[in-house]
Structure formats: structure tokens, C-alpha cells
Amino acid sequence: MPVLSMTNIQKSFGENHVLKDISLHVDQREVVSIIGPSGSGKSTLLRCATFLETIDAGEIAYMDQKAVQTVNGKAVYAKNLKPFRKDFGLVFQNFNLFPHRTVLKNVTDAPISVLHRDPKEVKALAEELLGKMGLADRAGAYPCELSGGQQQRVSIVRALAMQPKILFFDEPTSALDPELTGEVLKVIKQLAEEHMTMVIVTHEMAFARAVSDRVIFMDGGVIVEQGRPEDVFGDTQEERTKQFLRHYER
């Protein structure tokens, strides 16, 4: 059973047709990277998957439960999306931590006040996750007191504390100074090794190649090519993919 099934997704912003009949299925324990040029619709795809944008047509299901269906050519959302939201987490490019709350409160509040989990257990889980991410001593700090890399790791912990079945990342290192990207990529790699189901939009090609089970190259709102990283990077089939990858060769 796939964790996420997106089928024949259509999305336009006015005249701008951004997602053109895209389908994306992600299995449990699978790590999928999405690469592609700016404006190709990568963020929009993640934002549709996380209900931050509404699709025009297509189908979205988590764990075979349909959140969106298409009836008579129009997307129809489930009345209550709340049960679906606990299946996924999203890590933003610019973290979006809550600045008025400590690291610990950022991490524990949603599991407690949204999922109604036991506060003691949530706190224990949060402390364990923070420790794992090398943030054990920062639990009482405010986001503004952390480096960008630390903030992004906190936002990953915040998403993980909800115990999602799948985690989406939208360019998790693009807002970071180059010397800080490594520490964030390292924790994502660690999650990949633990077979956390993930979809990662990234411009870090070496990273995508190293952690992914599958790489997807998107351009102009369609999936141009996808496959095992060694194939997409090593034995590229499509001319557009080759052109794109050439920018990253040095």
C-alpha cells in the first residue's frame, strides 16, 4: 500500500498551467527526491500534497484513504481533512518555526494540542528526537537564538514529533549558508537510513543521488524522467534531464 498516491493532478494559477497531469506514488520506507529547474512546479506539487494549495483535478490519497477525488472533472475534497494531516509532515525552506516559543514548545505543542497525545510521552519523544539531531542542549532556547542549520533541524524535529507516515521537504537547505547545509543534510540522511518515508525537493544533486531510492526530474509541470539515482544521474535518458544536470557538473 502506497503511503501517498497522487494521480493525474492538474493545477493552474490563472492562465499558468503549473501541474500537468502529474502522478506520484510513494511507498512505505521509500525516499524520493524531486529535482528540476526553477518554476517547474516542485513546490506546488508538495503544497498540493499537503493541502496548502487546492488542486483543480486529480486524486490524492494517503494510506489508500482518498482525501481528494475528482467528480465530473472537478476536484472534491473530503469534508474533514484533519485525519489526513496527521499522515504527513512538511519541512519548509525557511523553517517557519514559531518565534515566540521555545524549541521544546515548538516541538511538543502540536502533538499535545492537535493530536491530544499524552504531554509526558510527547515531551520524552521530543527530547529523544532533539538529542538525536544534536539539539539536546537547545530545548529551552528561542528560535532566534539558533543558527539557521539548528533552526532547520528543529523544524525537522517538529515535523517528526507528529509521527507522520511521510515527510515532505521543500528545499530544506536552500535558505542556509553553505557551511550549514551539511549538518541538515546529515540528519535527513540519517532519517533515510532509518527508512523514514520521504519526498525531498532539492537542488543538492550529490545528496539526492546518495540518499534516494528514486529520483524524479520535473520540468514544465510534468515528470520528464524518473528512476533509480544511478540511472537518472548515470544513464540519463532524456535530453532535458541531461541539459539540466549539466548545470550541476563541475
Binding site: 494531516r85 519548509f92 517557519n96 514559531f98 518565534p99 492537535v114 528561542y142 528560535p143
Partner: protein, 216 residues
């Protein structure tokens, strides 16, 4: 009349000055939030009414609003002017200040980055939870300096109550000044307001400091 008598007489009115001040804050701060939220409503009629409310109350003098609320019922419906003028005075002040607070809240709410809403939405917070747990605390922090400005202005504006002869400190002072043909009551009033505002500034400074435990 010697200085001490003037001061004591005017001080008797301070209780009423404080009543206007605190009751106005008590009602206008939440009322302003209601107006701000209505102003942001997706329903055109609702936001239109809120917009008109803000526009009229900010666009006409508080003095006129005081007169309208205090004597309006008499001229319109023949209802006798209430003997306790505190009620109409506080109503006039509260609806006037609510309009100003509404605009401050609105600008504060609009200054919030959309990412805060999105992060909350993805985490599954309801709209109400998002507003009270995520947005409002940050908005308060951002608008506190503007709120302080309004409160300082309110201290001075309480003197407007003299237009409907409500016996607060300034009204008494003005009466003494007239009967004694003396300028002293005005100086006393000035000192009273200045000290009052010094206290306000001190308190609000403390509050602002307490809230600046994080950088925006």
C-alpha cells in the same frame, strides 16, 4: 482659593478620570479586535460595515461623538439624559478607541508572515488555535508600541469629557478656573496628566520588555 484646595478639589475628579480611562481600555481593546476580525471577513457586507465604522469614528471628532452619545438619545427619542454620564461617556470613548485599535490590530495581523499560518495548518491546528496560539501572541508583541501610543493619547483625551460636563478632573479644573479667573487649575491639570502618562509609559515599558524575550 489656595493651591492646595485647588489640587484637592481636582483630585476628587481623578477617580472619574481613571474610570473613563480604565473602562475605555477594558471595552475598546476587545471591541477593537472584533472590529478588526470583521474588517478582515470574506463577506463583503460584513467587512464593508466594519470599514465604514472605522472610517466614521476616526473621521469625526471624539468631541462630537461624546455629544452624540450623551445627548443623541434625548434629541432622537426624547429619552432623558442619563444622570450617570459615565455610561454615555465610556460608550463614546470605547467605540472611538475601538476604531483606532482595530486599525492597529489589522496592520499587526497583516504583518504576520504567511509561513506562520502555513506551518500551523500543516501541523493540523484549527483556525481558532492558530489565531490564539500562533498569531495573536506575535501580533501583540508587534503592535505594543502603537498600543502604548494610543493609551498615552487616551490619558489626555479623558479631558474631552468636559464637553458633556462630566465631573472628571479637567472639568472640575475648568470650572474652578472660570469661577476664580485663575490659570492655576490648568497647570495642575497638566501636571496630573503628565504624571499619569509617566506611569503609563513606565508600565508599558515593562510590558514591552517582558515581551521582547525573542527577536521578531
Amino acid at each position: 482659593m489656595d493651591l492646595l484646595t485647588i489640587i484637592l478639589k481636582m483630585a476628587e475628579g481623578l477617580e472619574k478620570t481613571c474610570a473613563i480611562f480604565f473602562l475605555t481600555l477594558l471595552f475598546s481593546i476587545p471591541l477593537g479586535m472584533v472590529v478588526a476580525l470583521l474588517r478582515g471577513s470574506k463577506l463583503k457586507i460584513v467587512s464593508g460595515i466594519a470599514r465604514a465604522y472605522i472610517s466614521v469614528l476616526r473621521g469625526t471628532p471624539l468631541m462630537l461623538q461624546l455629544i452624540a452619545v450623551t445627548y443623541g438619545p434625548y434629541y432622537l427619542f426624547g429619552i432623558s439624559v442619563s444622570r450617570n454620564k459615565l455610561i454615555p461617556v465610556v460608550i463614546a470613548f470605547a467605540i472611538n478607541y475601538a476604531a483606532y485599535f482595530a486599525e492597529i490590530y489589522r496592520s499587526g495581523i497583516e504583518s504576520m508572515p504567511v509561513g506562520q499560518y502555513e506551518a500551523a495548518e500543516v501541523l493540523g491546528y484549527t483556525k481558532v488555535q492558530t489565531f490564539f496560539k500562533i498569531i495573536l501572541p506575535q501580533v501583540i508583541r508587534r503592535i505594543l508600541p502603537s498600543i502604548t501610543n494610543e493609551i498615552v493619547t487616551l490619558v489626555k483625551d479623558t479631558s474631552m469629557a468636559f464637553t458633556v460636563s462630566y465631573q472628571e478632573m479637567f472639568t472640575i479644573g475648568k470650572q474652578i478656573a472660570n469661577s476664580q479667573t485663575s490659570f492655576v487649575p490648568f497647570i495642575v491639570a497638566g501636571v496630573f496628566y503628565y504624571v499619569f502618562n509617566a506611569i503609563v509609559s513606565f508600565v508599558m515599558g515593562r510590558v514591552e520588555k517582558a515581551m521582547s524575550y525573542y527577536k521578531i
